[in-house]
């Protein structure tokens, strides 16, 4: 479940980001600070995106930054970050990005239920409206626990 892989500490609202790289670094920092990933994991995300484009922009205004498990994932986790001002990631169809869900995955299975929950949320217009007006991380966590 999504509520098992995220926590208040992994939620950062209204980040001030100057560009896509800064946005990814700040969103991923919550996972780094809480021992979910090594710093090499963040570098792998940035490097892959610089080489091959922003492969983690999935739908309108949404990015799911992640790398391969062996790049430095320590524990499965999903962070939630919103940007004060959306930034361009270089994905014509879905730019600009405002919501980032940084994923740490150990394999291609153990987090699948959490990703299914997140997929369900990303289909709801109300979820984005909720994130836009949420005051703090505990409010977001409450919302996720009530799914």
């Amino acid at each position: 479940m999504l509520k098992d892989l995220t926590s208040e500490k992994l939620i950062r609202l209204n980040i001030d980001a100057k560009d896509w790289e800064d946005a990814v670094r700040q969103a991923a920092d919550a996972l780094l600070q809480n021992g979910k990933i090594k710093s090499s994991y963040i570098e792998a995300i940035i490097k892959t995106a610089k080489e091959g484009g922003p492969y983690f922009v999935l739908t309108k205004h949404v990015a799911l930054p992640h790398a391969r498990p062996e790049a430095g994932a320590i524990e499965s986790a999903i962070g939630i970050a919103t940007l004060k001002e959306p930034v361009v990631f270089g994905n014509k169809e879905n730019d600009p990005v405002k919501y980032l869900f940084c994923l740490s995955a150990l394999d291609n299975e153990s987090h699948i239920n959490a990703l299914a929950d997140l997929t369900g949320l990303l289909e709801r217009k109300k979820f984005y409206e909720f994130l836009d007006q949420a005051k703090d991380a505990s409010e977001v966590m409450q919302y996720i626990k009530n799914l």
């Binding site: 892959t48 091959g52 994923l103 299914a116 997140l118």
Partner: protein, 95 residues
Amino acid sequence: MEFKGLVACRAGVGSSLMLNIKLKQVISENKLPIKIEHGSLDAVAGFNGALIVTLSDVAKELEAKKLPQKIIGIDNIMNKVEILTKLNAFLAEAK
């Protein structure tokens, strides 16, 4: 006839898993004759089905490799209409 499709992305643990969820919804809702399996780009080399589904930027890269499979790139993975339209185009071509 049922077609085999591979959903793949760069890492194989994020985007493609989500795309897999949406593809399976579209396929079952529309009863399309496609069976989907999931993997990273490493799985592409050993895959013997007719179809590869991935995100658009990865699709461009795969197209350059002149693989035997039809490559479908999805721009917006939450857009079921886009997914259905592209799968139907594949089926029409494959018949």
